[in-house]
Symmetry: C2
Subunit: 164 residues, 2 copies
DNA sequence: TATTATTATTGATAATGTCAATTATTGATA
DNA sequence: TATCAATAATTGACATTATCAATAATAATA
């Protein structure tokens, strides 16, 4: 039950009897599942034994090397404890190293090692290729409109959640 | 790394430097996270201590009572072993019972018990209410268009995955 | 300075996921 | 019909991820 099974037409009764397979939740779930399976498999084929969540960290660090753990947690939608342990794993694999922030000594920043950088540089084109096939047949406008809707829903959820 | 971090504009270089927060993956991840937190919390407040995945099973059984475990696995995008264990949990909680299919004796079907039915009948309005606030400000057309795009992407992924 | 807030870690445990092996049954085929 | 292959579910063994409270270290504020 990752997300929103009922589809939009839940407002009236007819909709309650709508097919589960037509709901946003179904789509999001399956999308997530398929993407995970696919990308992890492709990375494995390329010689990178890595979990999907570890991959998320590397992808983010590729863009924002030296991110703080709080930032990683917020951006990846995870508890800070989860980030601590994901980083432990990546450090063990030699992909990441931690360095204390020079200014604020409470803060720890995560950096790609040479090896980690090599890995993500190698993985990135694989990811790009996979994404390209994923969005085949979707126009930029359609894609943008989709993001707008999802962002709206997300914003609604976050708003109502924080009130509780 | 649940899903597709890069956003559409990955095709050119400018896009590669786009913000992580603008990607479809970011949206889907956070959407999933926020929805989970919110609905589980609301169920808990109503006296139902239930996990998000268990909730998915109940929601599906509400619609398709007597579903086979294979069907549950396919619909919820989970391994059959996961379904076996989710059902074990729900049986322990008294919400679900298993009955063998009368025709094909390999097949086991999952049914809501009286208690399980009561629970989902009580939870359903909570879910509906939560969903209603989630999609506030989204028109039916926008919602439908979003589903079309996501369905397209899902279809692309499934197609390319099965070839591998 | 004393208090409060923030950042990260740790411990303990629960929840999910993966994947191969096994059992029971059914369907197909020779 | 006897055999073999396919299917449905369970189990075992384990990895991964999540949750949540407690703690330590540091920083910010009154």
């Amino acid at each position: 039950m990752s997300i929103i099974y009922p589809s939009m037409q839940h407002m009236n009764d007819a909709a309650v009897s709508q097919r589960f397979e037509d709901s946003l939740g179904y789509l999001v779930n399956h999308l997530t599942y398929a993407f995970r399976q696919g990308i992890v498999h492709r990375c494995g084929e390329a010689g990178f034994v890595i979990t999907h969540e570890e991959l998320g960290v590397l992808v983010l660090l590729r863009r924002e090397d030296g991110a703080t753990q709080t930032h990683l947690a917020n951006t990846l939608a995870k508890d800070k404890a989860v980030i601590t342990r994901l980083l432990n794993g990546l450090v063990r694999k030699g992909y990441v190293e931690r360095r204390p922030d020079p200014v604020d000594r409470r803060v720890v920043r995560a950096f790609l090692t040479t090896s980690g950088n090599g890995a993500i540089q190698c993985i990135h084109p694989i990811l790009m290729d996979y994404v390209a096939t994923a969005i085949r047949g979707v126009t930029q406008d359609e894609f943008d409109a989709t993001c707008v809707v999802l962002r709206r829903i997300l914003s609604n959820l976050q708003q109502v959640n924080e009130k509780a």
